[in-house]
Structure formats: structure tokens, C-alpha cells
Symmetry: D3
Subunit: 271 residues, 6 copies
């Protein structure tokens, strides 16, 4: 159950409208790594979490904070869209460039009446397929960590794509929170390990004696890049501490498959 | 540039057809965390990689191996679909259950003529939106690690959903390779750190002095779960080694936003 | 900005697990007319609303309540998925039917580990394309009213598709809230009219003298159904009170179009 | 069964090509609220309608008219795409702006050879998910009414985004028909009520005694906006005429949910 | 412009309801190769066709006939959905099998109230991305021919998946029309060639002297399948009559690409 | 099983960066008719092929070559994205036009860090729904032929949309291979016919005596275009050599359908 406050967690006010940048900001609202994804994902992981206690409580707390981030970015986009030019100004293209006509999203005026929507910078609607909630916290916290990395990367790039002080101020806030949230997931992963709840390989409970030969510790090379095995993944102690890494070329171990003939009721070639 | 060999990396032959399980196997072929995703993702990260050497070479090598995994799962699905029943057998439902009619994917016979396709177990087509290639190797390797975790988790679950020895044999192979690949990405992340190419927070090159106050080290609690701050993410040394974690309740720092009136050319309420 | 409480707005506990029904419940979570749609839609309309006061405040209030509905349905689905059977029981299909194997969603166990996800009952992920926020309150409140009608209809149908008292109890709650919410939007539409903020046709501010002839008041019949013009839409006073309805057969008013030849740089037929 | 006539219902000829505007026109062809949606939706509602007579006949008649609207917009887009510039003219940007290069849709020349396609202004393909046909006429006619409102709103906005007299002429036609069609659906809703076929709440046949307490008449406030309960939805007689509206703050009525532990066969955290 | 007649082109009446088969029939209504695709595709190709005369006229005629096919399949699905069981009958699974509960589409009752919708047999909504209209008639007529082949194949498979005489009767009609339509497109392709409007390779107007070496006539072998070059595509006269086919192994002709370092403003690895 | 070589099949190096053209090139990488489609489609058809020998071997060979085409286009796009401008240059729009800012894809810098991704020129992600593999080789080879036609058409159009010699060189290579591949599929179709494996109508094994009347040889006219029956599809010998073509107007052969009343458990109109 939630309650809402009209005041914002942080200011979301550009110094001037910029419809082109409004389109770009959509990426961190409704793109794969935008705030919609982390808000709905952390909440879903929290609700689905069958282990009561600190992980579940933390998931619901951070998910709720991310809703406030959604709110601020929507507000910023709305303000960037003020006075959006509706037609190109053929007589004076520099005026138009300043006004942000060249790259704006036509759905912003036509569909949303100068408002934000749940899409990315290319107009793809946000989708629930962006959300991962596997029921295994280690697997999901790794995903959450990468989400905060991809997210911070995108906001940091946007920071280099505008000169507006008000926009940059909100971006700095988002970058800072992503800094913390990266650490939050990495710390939670360490806690999972320390508490013996999960380890490498995920899921650790699958019996290792069911695995096949040395394939759990072998880099298989399939390309002619000379340095593919020059990393710590191809020699030395394994990450899970159970063996030593090795490397070899790919090899076939089964014959070319011969499929039975097609079923005539399905009209294959040949009957 | 690639060359192909008809022989398989590993055997992909069920002991008996099972159209229901064929549908389930589609998840690890064309689902979000299936082999199509990792194959095309590692190749794209490799091609796009602007840093020559071991990372680029390794990416192209593993991507190419994953293509062989796609091939084996397609082959397995094809064989599971042999003799697919086309109608329910009203007189004898147990016969039908054995034959796998109850949960089969109707597109397997109607659209693909008893063949695999690039979709997941619920029939959603695989999409390029599953692929992440950000140009930042640390962010992407974290994603790759979670992909191998989600993937191994799904295959391990499928292992508990069939009794067919031939199917289980291929699943054991896939589980084993995912075991290795998880370690491969974690090892590569360690190499990136050791070599000073990237660190926490990602991207490390964004100047930390631009960040806002202590928000890079503060857990913000927004829910009444009593244990949300009981993890190592809310007190003690920070993961990036630069500060100490703290926790506090969420607070508003900006007034409720007042948007300017709508643009009459867009017919808002009010005019 | 939001805060969250772990306690639920209403109880969400089935008397027994039922994985088949869990799949069906997904429709009112992540389907086109599910709680995800209304929650995110009302919030977006509220944030985007450029008219301060009761409409904006009400939108943000109802959107926040809908988040609590999302939470309850996720919780219900999680509990319906307890002890999900992983394999058909060929020896005893009636046992299986009772356990809900026949129609379950394979992604529930494979992808989500017996948890809910943001998809509908056929596995289509929820999409931001379901959300409408046009900036015109009358147009959007009509959409909101139909959303609550479609939603109540679906929940009422689900009510007839289960005998579980716990499930039915939550469905009764949802049906009751949809009853209120339908009225809420219809009342808000009346307020908009009363206050002179919008009227029929939407948008009322477009100058009617720009319209074409009597086409704003004429039913155009294109089919041979004998009763098409037998409704109040084809004769009598018009809904907007400005004219009288009439009816006539469709007629062409422009010649068959002749397009200029294709551009040879685009290789049409013919060059 | 249909027959087709090459002559157009209304003229669809721009005074000059304008590839940028062609892209924008796609919104009302293949966008969520475009002519493809209403044409296919009204026809589907008509074919599915299990009540013979005036509603079914009217649905099939209006759906068939909307096909003529699809045809006219396709024709308009084709003509706007004549002589589309294939490259930017770096030497003279104003010339290019006049020619409409800046915002054009690259698929128009590359994929469609200067022709229309079934997508919106951001290139999202039209989807059957836009179509609603619930089997309940009241719920669907409300949807149809909002469709005509959203549609008229978008066309009226487009009207302010061009100076081309030929384009404006077709837009005026579409705006006028949307004016009528809004009234048509509102009149049909009145007929449904008058004839006792449906009422508020939809579906009216669900027994009201199954509803929960006073929740069918209560505005639940979850936010701190001071005016949320200042509308006619929170006090006074209810819309359905059966009670009086009230308002109160959101309250929890069930404890925080405790889910049972995860199933070990699915490798949750913890095992 | 269209007119509609309530009478059907052919009867669409099953002998008995069958909700399972209703789901399967959706494939040829709203699937990639269903009637929605061919109806909307032929009409779009016709409207976009810049060459007046027999091809344009024929396209609009066949597209209009396909709308009648859409109508018949919708009608058939509606009737197959009569009396759809809403719950499994645990006591008597054979009764349920007869009633078609096991594989039915849950959206049919929940969303559509026992009506058809624009989706395929796995519930994916029909999408405008299925429609091809390139502006080159030869390329598009080849696509149309394959559409009628894929379509006839699917209907012929459905014919083997039911025993209902009424359903089979409509399927026979559709199979027969697909028989004719395959020939229609192949005949139109011959006309295009005979009239010199297009030839192989498409587009024939691209100057062949711009092509690279003998690569327009060479089979490039990349796999170890022994028979890959045993077809008429690898030796003998070429299809376009201009040369002789040859075969050789794939060879690299350019060095491994070295990309320039990443742009620091985008935070790549390395900085 | 595959192996990979870093050297390229053909050079993929532009003379200068051009982010606008990078966006356009995405169409032939991740669009419906791009290299991702043909690569994954030919491989899937090959793996699924139940007829051993030349067709299966050839499918796997050509699919593997197409992977090399994917690689080259990715490489080209990466290089076109070097030094992508991050902001418009309001003071000097011609400079910006030269740099390719006006039409660039904002996800290229924000999401992919100046790298390619699996999407088309409008940003739609590539989808497995583009892939056809029916199990009937004739139907699929027709599809493959049209894929090579649509593909060559698009590349030939791109050739007219750039002046960069390096880009044009790669486009010439792709156009040339598409020339060959069109012939390859047409030759394979001839082989299928010659060897008696399939014929017209596809599938030929469906018994023609089950077809309905003369509808397999009759053009049905539904429009008033005067020339619709002026092609070889409406008179003269049929393509399958079994009859003579005829033409007639569309006629209804079944009464207007009367559906039974809706099921009250689903709350239709009326109850
Ligand atoms: Ca955030
Ligand atoms: Ca793998
Ligand atoms: Ca609700
Ligand atoms: Ca219309
Ligand atoms: Ca047809
Ligand atoms: Ca190619």
C-alpha cells in the first residue's frame, strides 16, 4: 500500500524548454534501463520474495524510491516540452535549432499534448519484458547491479548532451543515486554469500556431480582472435575456488543430426 | 566470418518425443535469457568493442560457441516434436497426456510443421530488445554474468520438469557450460578492475565531485519494513571504499511542481 | 514522492493453490485493462496535468491506490503458484486437473520461480502502449471510465471461473472498487462540463465553422443491415444540442486518385 | 462481404509534397487512435455482436466507412511523399527544411518506396492490441467514444501543424466525421440505457449484494493534494443513484503478507 | 470506398462448439500468414501502387475479397466459442476434453466475452509489421505468392486437426481460394516479366556493371555439408540467363577491422 | 557448430563518419528484410529441415554466409558513428548537417555508446517474428526469394542516399550477393519441381478433389476498377496446368449469420 506526496524528492526544472532533449530524456524514463524498469522491477522482486526480512524490506523500499524518480523525470520532460514548435521555420533554421524542432518526438505534441509518455527515445513503448524477477536473489541482484550501471552510463552520457543548468542538476542527482544503488546491490550480493544463501555457480544447489566432465572450468575457443585465452578466465584458479581454468578449441562430440522424415499430415517436403 | 560444421558440439537426442516439453524448451532457445540472446549479444559486444585484444577476442569466441548451443536446442526441439498429436483423444486422456498434447504449442504444428522457432515458452517472438551492448565492458559483463545465472537457473528448473534421459543429458551440458560462463564473466570483471580499465561506480570516469551531497552513500528508506536497513548496504564502509554508508527516511527537497498552462494549439484542458 | 506500507489494503489469500487460475489472474494484473494500466495511467495523467487543483490531485490519489491493487494481485498470484506441479501426472489426470497443471503458464515456474510477472493471461508483456494521456481531460476521463468498465467486466468473469472463497473475496473487493471508479470518472466528466472546461465535440475549442457541411450530424450508411439507422444517432436532436441528426448512404465526392509515377531512384514498377 | 469503389469519399490531395508531414500523418493512420484502429475495431465488434438488430447493423456500417478513411489517409501520405529528398543538402539547409527532410521517416523511402505503411509517427507498427471488443456493448461504446475524442484531438493538432490547404481540407473532413462519431457513440449509450440493456456499474448484472461494504461509493485518498476530494465524486448523490459518495484516507485491512518458502525444485533463495 | 453486405461469401458454421479449435483458428485470422495480413496488405499495395491499370485494380479487388475471409473466420470462431466451459471439470476430464477446455485461449472468455480477436494461436496480437508494400511489384508479388502458400499450408494442417464437418467445409473453401490466389500472383509475375516491367535480379534497373566481380553468380560454401553445391544453383546456366553459376569456399578479402578508440564523452572502456 | 575468423568477407570502411546514414543502415541490419533475418532464417530452415542432402546443406551454408554480412554491416555502422555530435550546433546548422546530427538515432550514443544494435532505421528491435520456417521447402524458398528481392531493393535505395565511396563499396557487395541469392532460391524452386518434391498449389499433397467447385481457378472481382480482370490471371490456361481461368463478381452464398445470445456468465449485452 502506498501514499503519495506532491513535493518532489529533488528539483526537476530546466532553465529553458528543449523539445529535442525531452525526446532524449525519454530513454531514462521509459527505455530498457530507465526508471520505469527499476521501479517496477524492484517492487515485483520484493512482492514475490518468499524470504521475509531485510532483502524483501529493502527491495520494497528502493522500488518505492524509484517511483519518485519516475515522477521527477516525467516532470522534467513536461517542462522541456513547453512552447514546442509545431512547424519548421523554413526562413530561419537556426531559430528552429535553438527551439529544438529538429529531433523532437512528433508524438509529444500529437498524442500527448506536450507531455511525457512511457516510451524510450526512439518511441518504443516500455514493456514488462524489461523486468526480471526470477525468484533467485543472487541472479536478480546481479541484474539489478547491471541495471544501475547501464542507467548511470546513460544519464552520464545525457549530461554531456545538454548545457541547461537545471537539467544537469537533476541528472547529477540521478547519477549520484545510481552510484549508491550500484553499491547497494553489490553489498547485498556479498551479504547473500556471507550468509550462505547463494554462491557461484548460481543456483549453487544444483548438484555439481551432475555436471559434464571439465566443461565447468574450460574456455572453449571458436575464433582466430589470438588473445581470446589471455585473460584470467582461461588459466589459473577458478572463480568458484573448486578447480583450475583451462582452454581448448571447440570440438564436435556428436554426429551430424539426422532428423526423421516429416509427418505427412503437416505437408512437409517431401511427403 | 564464420564456417559451420554439421557435427554437434554435444548430443541433442531425446529418448522419446514430448511436444509439451518442446514448448517448454523454447524458453531457453528464444526467451529473454535463452541461447539466441547470449549468442547474438556476445557477438554484438565483440564487433562493437573498440578496445582490441583479449576482451574483444574472447567475446567473439564465446558468441560463436553460443551459436552451437542454439543449434543443439533447435535440434532437440525438432525431435521432441516427432509424431505430435494433432487432436485431443477424448476417449483416453491419459494416452494424450503421455503424448504431450495438453500443453503443446499450437504453432509448432500449424506454423512450423513440427519444427522449432525463435520464440519463448509462451509464444513471444525473440526480440533484439533483449540484447545489451553499451560500449562499457564492465556494465556489459555484469549483464552477461546475470544472463548466465538466469540461464542456468532456467535450465536447472527444466531439469526437474522431465524424466527423459536424453533431454536431461543435454540440459546437464548446458548447465555445465553456464557454470563456466558465469565464472568467465566474473573473471573478466576482475581483470577490468585489475587493469584499471573500469571500477565502481560505473562509469568511474564521471567526476565524483559533480555528485550531490552524500547521496552516493545513503540508503533512503521509503517503506515500513523493519529490516530494510539491516544489510551491509546501510552502514559500514562503502563498496567503492571512498566513504561510509548511512541510512535515512525519504525526504522531499523541492516543492510540488506547478506546470505552466497547456498550449491552446494542442487543445488541452483548460484552453 | 511515495511511501510504502507492507500491510495490504485488502486480504489476498486463496484457500488453496491453483496454478491454472494464477495464469488467468495475470490478465487483470498485466493485461491491457489490468491494474498496471490504470495505476501507471492515472499517475501519468496526474503528473502531466497542467491544470492545478482537484483533477490533478484526484488523479494522483487514485493512481496511488491502484498501485496497492497491483500489489494485492501479485500477492494472490504468488500464493496460487505454491507447490506448482512441474510434470503432468500421466497415471492420474484428474489429480492433475485439481492441481492446475493443464492450463498453467510455463513461464511461472521456469522464468519466475513460482512468482507473478507483468504479463497477461496469454503471456504478452504489459506495454506502455496501453497507457493514454492526451493532455485533454475529457478525452482521457472517457478512456478511464471505459478502463474501469472493461476491468470490472473481466474481474466479474473471473469470479465465475473459480470456486475458491479466498480468491472470490479479493475479486469482490476489486469489483467493488471498479464500481466506484466508474462513477468517479463519470462524475469528473460532469464536473468538466459544468465548469465549462470541455464539452462535445472534444476538443470543443476547434472552431465548428471549419467543419465540412452537415457531416457533423449525419449517419453514413455503408452496409445492408436494415436497422443501422434505427437508433437515436440517426434522427432527432443531436447530442451536442446544435442540430438534428440525419442519415444517408455513403457517396463518393472525389475522383479515383491517380498517383504520379514512382521515383526511379527508389526502383518502383515501372521505372 | 464487401465491395470497393475507386472513387474517394473525400478529396485527399495536398497542394505540395511534404515528407515531414507524411510522417506525422502516419499517427492518424496506424497509431493507437488512428483509422486502422477504428475501422478494424468497429467491424470486429459488429461481427462478434450476439445481439441482432440496430447496434450490430450500425457497427458494421461505421466500420466500413472507416475503411474509406484509411484509404484517404494512405492516399494523402503517398502524395506527400512525392519527390522525397534522399540526402541532406549541406549547402542549403533552408531548402531542405522546405522539402521536409529534417524529420522524415527513413522507412518511407527505404522500405516502402515513398508509400504509406501501417505504423505510427514514431515507426511503431499498428497492432491488434489496440482493438477492444469485450462483448459488452456499453463498455465498448465508451471505448469507441474516447477513440473518436482522442482521434479528433490528434487531427485538430495536426491541423495546427501544417499550412497546406489540401491537407487542411482532408483534416477538416476527418475532424467533422469525428464530431459526428462522438455523438453517435454517446447516443448509442443512451439507447442502451433507455432500453434497459445495460447501466452503471458495468456490468450491471453482477449482483451488487456481493460487493464489499461501502467501497462502491467511497473516494479513497492516498495523496496530500488538498483538493482531491473537492469534486462531485467525493460527496453528494452517487452517479448510479443508489447511494451517497463519501471520502476517506486509505487504510490497510490485512496484515503484511507472509509467503511460504520457495520450492527447492525451482532453486529460490534460500533453498 | 467500400460497402458491406451481411450475407457471407461462404458458410461459416461448425457442427458443434470447440473452444480449443477456436484458439487454433486464430492463427489463420490474426497470425503472420492469416487473413488480416493478406487483406490489409493487398489493399495497401493497391492504394500505394503508382502504376494505374490492371495491377492496381486487381490488388484492390483481391484485398476486398480477403476482408470477406476475415469476416467468415471471425464468425466461425465466435460459434466455436459458444458455451465455453469456464472451469475444469476435475471429476470428468473426458467430458472436458470433448468440450475443449484443455487448450482454450483464456482471453477468449475473459477479454472478448466468447468472441474472436486479432491475435494468433499463441495470443500474439496481429501487427502491421506483417505487411509488406515495397513499391516494387515483382518483389511484392513474390511475397504475396509465399503468403498464399504459407496460408494454404496452415489451413491444410488445420484440416487434419478437426473432425467437425462444418469447420472442414469452410477450411476447404479457404484452401481452394488459396489455390487460386497462388496462381494469381504467379500469373501476375509472368505478366510483369512479359511486359518488361521487371526482371531478375530485382530491381533490374540497378546497373549490373556496378556489381562486384563474379559474386552475382557464385555459390559461396561455408559449411561441411557435402551436398551444398549439388543443386542447379551452383553450376550450369544462371537463372537470369547472363552467366554460368560457380561455387567456391568462403574467403576473407579484408583484414580484421580495427575500430578507433571509444569517445570519452560516452564513457567507453577504456576511457 | 561454428568457427569464426576476424578477417572480413569484404571491406566495411566508410570514407568519413555519418551518424545519419548509420541510422539508415540499421534497416538492412535489423529491419524486417535485413541480414539478421536472412541469417537466422536460413539457419533455422536448415536445422529444421527433415530432408537430408543438398537443400539442408545449402541452407546451412548460406545462413552461415549471412552471419558474415551481419558482421560487416555492424562494423560499417560502428565506423559511421565515430565522433558523433552530441548537441546541435545552433550557430552553424550547415556544419551540423555535414556531421549528420539532424536525423541520427539518439539511442546510438545514449544506449549503445556509438555502436550498432539489432534494430531497424526507426528503432524497432529485430524480432523472431520476421523469421519463416514452415517445414515446406517450396513455401519457404518463395519467401527466401522475396527476402532477397526486398533486401536488394533496400540496399539499392541506400546506394542512392549516400555519396561516400567506402559505404557505396560495401553496398555494391551486398547488392551483388543479393543478385546471386535471388537466383539461388529460384533455382532451388526449380529443382524441387523437377524432382517432384513439390508443385503448385502448395502443398500439392492436399487432395484437389476436396476443393470447392471452380473456386481454384476463378478471379473474384469485388471492386469497380475496370482492368482488374485484364491480366493473365483471369482468363486462359491456369498456372497449374489443370484448368482454365475465369472471372466473376463476388457473390454471397450463405445467409447473414445469426449468432446465439451471449453467455450470461460473461456479462454480454444483453444478459
Ligand atoms: Ca533511479
Ligand atoms: Ca549457452
Ligand atoms: Ca483497480
Ligand atoms: Ca474516422
Ligand atoms: Ca484468403
Ligand atoms: Ca545478405
Amino acid at each position: 500500500m502506498f501514499t503519495h506526496f506532491h513535493a518532489l524528492q529533488y528539483e526537476a526544472k530546466p532553465d529553458a524548454p528543449d523539445p529535442d532533449f525531452a525526446r532524449k530524456m525519454q530513454e531514462v524514463l521509459g527505455g530498457q534501463w530507465g526508471e520505469m524498469t527499476v521501479a517496477t522491477q524492484y517492487l515485483l522482486q520484493g512482492w514475490n520474495c518468499r524470504l521475509p526480512g531485510k532483502y524483501k524490506d529493502m527491495l520494497l523500499a528502493i522500488g518505492t524510491e524509484e517511483l519518485a524518480h519516475v515522477e521527477m523525470i516525467v516532470t522534467m520532460i513536461d517542462r522541456l516540452l513547453d512552447h514546442i514548435p509545431l512547424k519548421p521555420d523554413a526562413a530561419d533554421r537556426s531559430k528552429e535549432a535553438a527551439a529544438g524542432y529538429g529531433q523532437h518526438n512528433p508524438q509529444h505534441p500529437i498524442v500527448n499534448g506536450a507531455g511525457a509518455s512511457y516510451m524510450d527515445s526512439m518511441g518504443n513503448p516500455w514493456t514488462g519484458a524489461y523486468v526480471t524477477a526470477s525468484g533467485n536473489l543472487m541472479a536478480d541482484f546481479m541484474y539489478n547491479a547491471t541495471a544501475e550501471m547501464q542507467g548511470r552510463l546513460q544519464v552520464a552520457r545525457l549530461y554531456n548532451m545538454t548545457d541547461d543548468p537545471g537539467v544537469k542538476d537533476l541528472l547529477r542527482f540521478l547519477i549520484t543515486r545510481d552510484h549508491y544503488h550500484q553499491q547497494q546491490w553489490l553489498a547485498a550480493i556479498e551479504d547473500l554469500k556471507t550468509e550462505g544463501l547463494e554462491g557461484i555457480p548460481v543456483p549453487e544447489a544444483f548438484p555439481l556431480e551432475e555436471e559434464v566432465g571439465d566443461l565447468g572450468y574450460t574456455f572453449i575457443d571458436t575464433s582466430d582472435g589470438p588473445d581470446a585465452a589471455a585473460g584470467s578466465w582461461a588459466s589459473g584458479p577458478s572463480i568458484d575456488g573448486r578447480a583450475t581454468f583451462a582452454a581448448r578449441r571447440i570440438e564436435a562430440t556428436a554426429d551430424a543430426p539426422i532428423l526423421p522424415p516429416g509427418d505427412p499430415r503437416l505437408y512437409p517436403t517431401p511427403q
